[in-house]
Symmetry: C2
Subunit: 471 residues, 2 copies
């Protein structure tokens, strides 16, 4: 059993750390973006460096006090909020936000875990490089949290998720020891892959304190198009055609359904609709090409071949960077429109690529049997990752359906499981989906996860209640 | 402590498995390519399916008998050979060699762990797709072994190593339970990354029985060039220029030193030398481009820019597929030439990209202080992975230097460690480098590896002595 932070514990910690490490616990540390979790409080500590993180964790390990790592606070599954149990230490990385070094010739950047994602992107850009992790909350999310949750975003198709963008990690393990794994090596086959074990462990096996990240050349020319397809299966055929024609140059391939466009028209009429008649499905294709290649030409040629093959029925190709930004504004406004409508239940799911069309059809039909929902399915088609979100009918509010939420979630997740999919494609498990893990995860996987947690964190101090229930 | 296989154990296993699972233990199971390890024997079992693998492992777990997983037997670090200790079961995957399914639209192939790498490549090709893992032993290596050792090869720069090419795994864990992780999902953030923990664990945490692998579109056009550079630093500048100009189209970027060309002239005069005067350093650049792009033109333009910048001094661009094959024959003949010369000590190392030139200079100087060696440094420059191999002077043999081998190895590995590099970039630890792990690995990493091993394999039955010493 864990213990609560006590005045004695705090006093003792104050003797070993500089005064600056202690900050007031404002409300922002106890809230999260979707308003589903509220923290109970705790002792906020903001160490200035890795040694201080280790000092805090050692103190917590000795006193069996829980540690909740806190990055940018943008997580969507309650991983940063501990609502119940003994009062924890909330360990914020906010003071460890330096870009430690950039090695442009090696395409490597080393950052403190508390560096804001947008700052990492900017530091790469200043050296003529690209750090491709990109997601809605990049202005406040911190790279340590991005790695702890294996964040995804819009460029996964081309560059991979956070896991794929990390070469090495420095971390403080649950016993307070420092893992010095901040390698810039592209290849290192010496022993178990602790880096990937920590990435995606959501703070439950240790606290990431710094990371060596992969950079990429910036594309010489970028372009985008919107193309209308009949259904997600046609979108997949278009993606295969684009990959064959353009190779690795396809940076993003985002699926947008008619409901998303209707939500935009309803809540954000200032966003310009790309087609006079809202199509049932369209895709946003984004290209980044090398020297001497013209994205608009490549997209035109793709459109012609796809049109002749009956895969696309309409399309528009960005003629300027401004028009490309307009296309992206459509995609990026959909989450905001969703929030204005107010979801009954949101699902960050993935299914095998070939099953997406079938999944959407079956999911919509099953939900219609429950109530008169509106479903907005959109997302990263090339990754098989759909944000499959369920909304009230026009004129009703989410409160009208609140009692149905568990049933909706169960219906969608059961179907995902039936299709061999994942109930958390990119947001993680956090505290929100621990029950789902218990219901859907392979028993051998669950047993191995519990054994690893017990081996590395025998007292269960690291982010208690995340991924697996406390001992 | 483990127990030896006994006649009673074998008799009991024969009652639970079909007769076909038992094959004679021929010498080939007790040898390895470099002739440094000789197996002591054991009971060879070749299960027909995953259930039978689980049956064997459960029996071994109950009797505390060691299990040595055996794939293609091509490993270079003794991971497949147990020389000492209680007689183990040698569990060969040779009868589990089916391609289970191909999903061309999803770019996914599912194979049994015993499938030969070349057969996986061919199955992908039959569906118009590419499985890019490619290495010298691909005609006999099995995909399960490739994954267990996180194999590298020549296409890592573009497509990643075995780890990056795997979406999901099925495996039998040390307690005989079956991990059903054979997902085709591109994104799945539900719990710890057991896939990547098993990949690279070299059979010490379980036996991979099947894998879902990533496929890629086949490039529309391929091309290659050899370009002469002053040193590895210039090669790195050339790679940066190529990446900027050609983006993701650079499939391979191999560094070849003068000594490799001299070894070829000495032992394989039939291999045509590309330049009249052997250059100190050259690189083999291989491109795979999309529709409408011409690799020869791209390489010409790259050469012109690099020549004008003073980065390259000479070059030749393949004008046909046959000439491209000739270029590759040079690169691929170097390991054979090395074997004919006979290495005193071979090192599969990596250092940060920016340190390669410095490392080679310091390494050569340090070795010259020991004896009159010839050093052949070559490898996958874009990955920072050098095969840094030390040979006898002309007219002498490896036996003349045998007594210096430990000193040579220690000298090279100490230097690698000093540069923040890895003493096993792609071959793994096996039994060969357990001592190196103990000497060079971060203490927190070693402790975590031992804790995970103890948690998942408390009796230490899985590939005893690999990566970490037995309990």
């Amino acid at each position: 059993m864990l213990n609560s932070v006590t005045p004695e514990f705090e006093a003792s910690l104050r003797e070993t750390l500089p005064q600056a490490a202690f900050r007031p616990l404002t409300a922002s540390y106890l809230e999260e973006p979707r308003g589903r979790y509220t923290g109970q409080g705790g002792l906020l500590v903001a160490p200035a460096n890795t040694e201080e993180v280790a000092t805090v964790v050692r103190a917590c390990a000795a006193a069996k006090v829980g540690v909740v790592p806190y990055g940018g606070g943008t997580g969507l599954v309650g991983g940063q909020i501990m609502e119940t149990g003994p009062m924890p230490v909330i360990l914020s990385l906010e003071r460890m936000k330096d870009i430690r070094a950039v090695y442009p010739d090696e395409n490597v950047l080393v950052a403190d875990a508390g560096a804001i994602l947008a700052d990492v992107q900017q530091a790469a850009e200043q050296h003529g490089r690209l750090f491709p992790l990109s997601l809605a909350s990049e202005g406040s999310a911190r790279i340590g949290g991005n790695l702890a949750t294996n964040a995804g975003g819009v460029n996964v198709l081309r560059y991979g998720n956070a896991r794929d963008l990390c070469l090495g990690l420095e971390a403080v393990l649950p016993d307070g020891s420092i893992l010095n794994g901040l390698t810039r090596l592209r290849k290192d086959n010496t022993g178990y892959d602790l880096r990937n074990l920590l990435i995606g462990s959501e703070g439950s096996l240790g606290i990431i304190t710094a990371a060596a990240l992969k950079l990429f050349p910036r594309p010489a020319a970028e372009g985008a198009a919107l193309m209308v397809v009949e259904d997600p299966a046609a979108a997949l055929s278009l993606l295969a055609m684009a990959s064959r024609r353009i190779g690795g140059g396809v940076s993003a391939f985002e699926l947008i359904g008619r409901m998303g466009l209707e939500f935009l028209a309803e809540t954000m009429p200032e966003v310009r609709q790309p087609f006079a008649d809202k199509p049932n499905w369209m895709v946003l294709i984004d290209l980044g090409l090398g020297a001497g290649q013209d994205p608009a030409t490549a997209l035109e040629e793709l459109f012609v071949e796809a049109f002749q093959a009956g895969i696309v029925s309409d399309g528009v190709i960005a003629q300027s960077e401004a028009q490309r930004a307009d296309f992206w504004a459509i995609r990026e406004s959909i989450p905001a429109a969703n929030r204005k409508i107010g979801a009954v239940s949101s699902h960050d799911i993935s299914v095998p690529l070939g099953a997406i069309s079938d999944f959407v059809a079956k999911g919509n039909a099953a939900l219609a049997d429950i109530a008169d929902f509106r479903v907005n399915a959109f997302g990263h088609l090339g990754d098989g990752n759909l944000h499959y979100n369920v909304f009230p009918q026009r004129g009703k509010s989410r409160q009208d359906y609140e009692h149905l939420r568990p049933q909706v979630k169960r219906c969608v997740h059961d179907l995902v499981h039936e299709f061999g999919g994942s109930v958390s494609a990119e947001h993680g498990v956090g505290r929100l989906k621990v029950e789902d893990m218990e219901r859907y995860a392979d028993p051998a996987k669950l047993a191995a996860i519990r054994a690893i947690k017990a081996a590395l964190d025998p007292d269960g101090i690291m982010n208690p209640g995340v991924i697996v229930r406390g001992a």
